[in-house]
């Protein structure tokens, strides 16, 4: 952790992340106004001392809405990624450990799915399942599965040939023990790094789905949805679009830079502690 903070992009990422995470955890408590409170007189105002980031078309305070929506946005990204990583790791590790025909079949399917762009794939799934936060999350997780499977498989393949794994097999250890105690802890590194970077993609995808009206539904304060709602009034008050857009950018960049730094720190042997 200390090494990440010493890493220049790591420090930038960590600062952005702490901002976003603080907003996610205590945002609704420190918000100056109720995010759903209509204020018909003060509609579409620019930034002022009373409304730091202005108000939207219903006179709702944008800063309060962003602070309130941080939880929805971050939890969406993290949950979707965790689901995707878990599914991908399970598929990839199975393929890598069993090998042979099973590996071939699984990985060819994965290759096929990987050829479809993430956004298109999530749209497809949401179209089939119907909109809503839960379905959008699931769609992103499914879209992430093949990529994570590929990484998990290669991590397992490189660990599987290590002599400590061979030694465990020669001792007569059960497959479960070999997988959980010998392979998994040593294959986790690349998965964790990839997952951190992927949270930012998940946030972007979530916001995109929200914007398209396929994710979170009004009156949610999800940031993508905020942009979509304010879009019609973009020229009368650009702040209603710029502010949530900037918030998405900060959150995505925070996870991305942090993930990059994590990779750099863990890469050269990663054992300096």
């Amino acid at each position: 952790m200390r090494e990440i903070l010493r890493h220049p992009t790591g420090l930038a990422g960590a600062l952005m992340l702490s901002l976003v995470l603080t907003a996610a955890l205590v945002g609704s408590l420190i918000a100056p106004y109720d995010p759903q409170l209509f204020h018909p007189i003060a509609r579409l105002q620019g930034p002022s001392t009373t409304h730091w980031l202005g108000t939207d078309q219903f006179g709702r305070d944008i800063l309060s809405r962003i602070l309130n929506g941080a939880w929805a946005t971050v939890s969406f990204g993290v949950t979707a990624t965790v689901l995707g990583v878990a599914a991908g790791a399970a598929v990839g590790m199975t393929a890598g450990l069993i090998g042979g025909a099973v590996d071939n079949v699984i990985m060819r399917i994965v290759d096929g799915v990987l050829a479809v762009p993430d956004l298109l794939f999530t749209l497809l799934i949401v179209t089939v399942l119907g909109g809503g936060t839960g379905h959008a999350m699931l769609a992103v997780a499914v879209a992430f599965t093949p990529g994570m499977a590929r990484i998990a498989r290669s991590a397992v393949l490189s660990v599987r040939t290590r002599e400590y794994v061979q030694a465990a097999v020669a001792r007569g250890e059960s497959t479960g023990y070999v997988l959980v105690r010998e392979v998994l802890p040593n294959a986790m590194g690349p998965l964790i790094v990839e997952a951190t970077i992927r949270v930012s993609f998940a946030i972007m995808l979530g916001a995109t789905l929200g914007f398209l009206g396929l994710g979170a539904q009004p009156p949610s304060t999800e940031w993508g949805l905020m942009i979509a709602e304010a879009r019609q009034f973009m020229f009368r008050n650009p702040w209603a679009v710029i502010a949530p857009g900037a918030a998405i950018a900060v959150a995505a960049m925070g996870f991305n830079l942090f993930g990059d730094a994590l990779r750099d720190v863990m890469d050269p042997r990663g054992r300096r502690r």
């Binding site: 030694a167 007569g172 250890e173 105690r181 040593n186």
Partner: protein, 542 residues
């Protein structure tokens, strides 16, 4: 140049450090060396002693974090440190030649090998392309390559390791340089090829009278090749002088220790022999191991894949308490056999363990596996980096139920003491240990299972010379105390002659010779055994 009086390479009080994250690291401390024309100086040291740093410094090829201290590097009286980068470029290859350890990485894989020599000749000797090609051909012929014109048209991947190293040597000698630096030039090669390359080096060196700096960790080898010897330890030259003099009477404690660690076949580490009527613990009957079965996809696509036989029809029997040495070049199938016995490779034929016969890998159960333990070459790989030493050693005890839960900590401590490590090492992680200590942990883990057969797969070859000897002694000691049968696989023939009772010689997957160690020199030895034995230098003066 005024003859032998003024040295070609003269290093005076040279110091070099590296700036690292953990502060400055002093790699070379006030090193002084001189090599005259026609002489070979052997520079011997263990890994991390600074010997390769010195070669880089002479080539002026230092990494960005290098910090040079005082001192001079003089090539025929000119200070290399004062040269401009352009002068250095012009000098490399023309005045200083270099031969590295791995010929595969010093040749450009995308260029024909002939072209690589021709390029050097055109650049430094200003020859016309046609003339350069002729010179290159004669140079290659001189290095003993049978059909040099043919070799010039080949790419590096189309040549063997020995052939590639000959090409590299031809390139190094191409411009008649004043000095050639050799950095472990034969370490990556097989014993017999290595011997041929060493002989070639000695001939060429005598013929051309070039000065040579020969860097190696192998004392026995250097004692054969070098006129003078310098021993380097932690960046300091601890002793230098005529090679023969140092070998017969080393003055510094470190040189004495290094020379004493060189395995010498006359000094047996094993005093006892197993009784002639001892029961057979392990027997192989026509064991055959194949690699490279075609995958489903390959079969579907009709792709053919060469099936490789790792070992063919290997038959031998080892008695209780016996150490059987297994020698052979890389790829001869010696590790393949060990892996089959350990149940890691599928095999045909049969393996008998203490009277019980298994005919396939799937027949091998946990009871068999407890009795057969394998120790791998590289302890960095064979110990899980995320487990503590104590947990690593305790695992066989738990798995096979050899100790009650309350006693495990105690047993682990005892095992650590048996391999001469402090008991509190149990709390450490492998990366906090040195290579030799790690290998001791791996040995402790193997013996924790109370095995009847211990398979040692090159267990000393990733270690430094001085550590090798102590690990070998430890193994012999444990083997004698437990009465286990031991298969000792190695490419170090001197070492195997020190500790084995009988020796198996493998070649291209086949067992070609099997004989008691006393009969090494007997007339009926297989010709291949003979050439292996002859290829290995025995330390001079011992």
């Amino acid at each position: 140049m005024s003859g032998a009086a003024s040295p070609v390479l003269d290093i005076r009080d040279y110091s070099l450090g590296y700036a690292t994250g953990a502060g400055p690291f002093q790699a070379l401390k006030q090193v002084s060396l001189a090599i005259a024309r026609g002489r070979t100086l052997g520079l011997v040291g263990e890994s991390g002693s600074g010997k390769t740093s010195l070669a880089w410094a002479i080539m002026r090829y230092l990494p960005a974090n290098a910090v040079e201290g005082s001192g001079n590097l003089l090539l025929s009286g000119e200070d290399l440190r004062a040269k401009t980068p352009a002068e250095i470029l012009n000098m490399r290859g023309r005045r200083i030649g270099m031969v590295f350890q791995d010929p595969a990485t010093s040749l450009n894989p995308t260029m024909m090998m002939g072209q690589q020599i021709v390029e050097v000749l055109i650049r430094h000797r200003k020859l016309a392309p046609r003339a350069a090609a002729e010179v290159a051909e004669s140079l290659l012929a001189r290095t003993g390559i049978a059909r040099p014109r043919d070799m010039m048209l080949r790419y590096p991947h189309q040549a063997s390791g020995g052939e590639k190293q000959r090409v590299v040597i031809a390139t190094a000698f191409a411009c008649n340089p004043e000095i050639i630096l050799f950095d472990e030039p034969t370490t990556a090669l097989d014993v017999i090829t290595a011997r041929q390359i060493q002989d070639l080096f000695m001939e060429l060196q005598e013929e051309t009278g070039v000065a040579a700096l020969y860097i190696s960790h192998d004392l026995a080898l250097v004692s054969r090749i070098a006129h003078d010897l310098a021993v380097i330890h932690h960046g300091e030259i601890v002793e230098q002088g005529a090679a023969r003099a140092i070998f017969s009477a080393p003055r510094s404690a470190y040189a004495r220790m290094l020379i004493a660690s060189v395995p010498s076949p006359q000094v047996r580490l094993v005093s006892t022999a197993p009784p002639a009527d001892a029961p057979v613990t392990l027997a192989l009957d026509k064991a055959t191991i194949r690699y490279g079965e075609r995958s489903l996809l390959d079969r579907l696509l009709g792709r053919s894949q060469q099936e490789v036989v790792g070992a063919r029809d290997v038959t031998f029997a080892v008695r209780e308490g016996e150490i059987l040495g297994v020698v052979g070049e890389s790829g001869s199938g010696k590790s393949t056999i060990a892996r089959a016995i350990a149940g890691l490779n599928p095999f045909a034929g049969s393996i008998s363990l203490a009277g019980r016969t298994v005919n396939a890998r799937d027949d091998i159960d946990r009871a068999y596996r407890r009795q057969v333990q394998i120790i791998f070459q590289n302890p960095d790989g064979s110990l899980n980096p995320r487990q503590r030493v104590g947990d690593i050693i305790a695992r066989p005890l738990k798995l096979y139920g050899l100790a009650r839960p309350g006693e495990i900590g105690e047993r682990v401590g005892d095992l650590l003491e048996q391999v001469r490590l402090p008991r509190d090492f149990a709390a450490r992680y492998p990366h906090q240990l040195s290579g030799g200590e790690k290998q001791r942990v791996a040995i402790a883990r193997a013996f924790a299972a109370e095995p009847r057969v211990v398979l040692c797969d090159e267990i000393t070859s990733s270690l430094d010379v001085s550590v090798q000897a102590s690990v070998a002694r430890l193994l012999v000691d444990l083997q004698a105390r437990t009465g286990a049968t031991c298969l000792f696989i190695t490419h170090d023939i001197n070492l195997v002659r020190q500790l084995a009772h009988r020796i198996v010689v493998m070649r291209r997957g086949e067992l070609v010779d099997l004989f008691p160690v006393e009969e090494c020199d007997a007339a009926e030895r297989h010709p291949y055994t003979r050439s292996l034995l002859d290829a290995v230098p025995v330390a001079a003066g011992s």
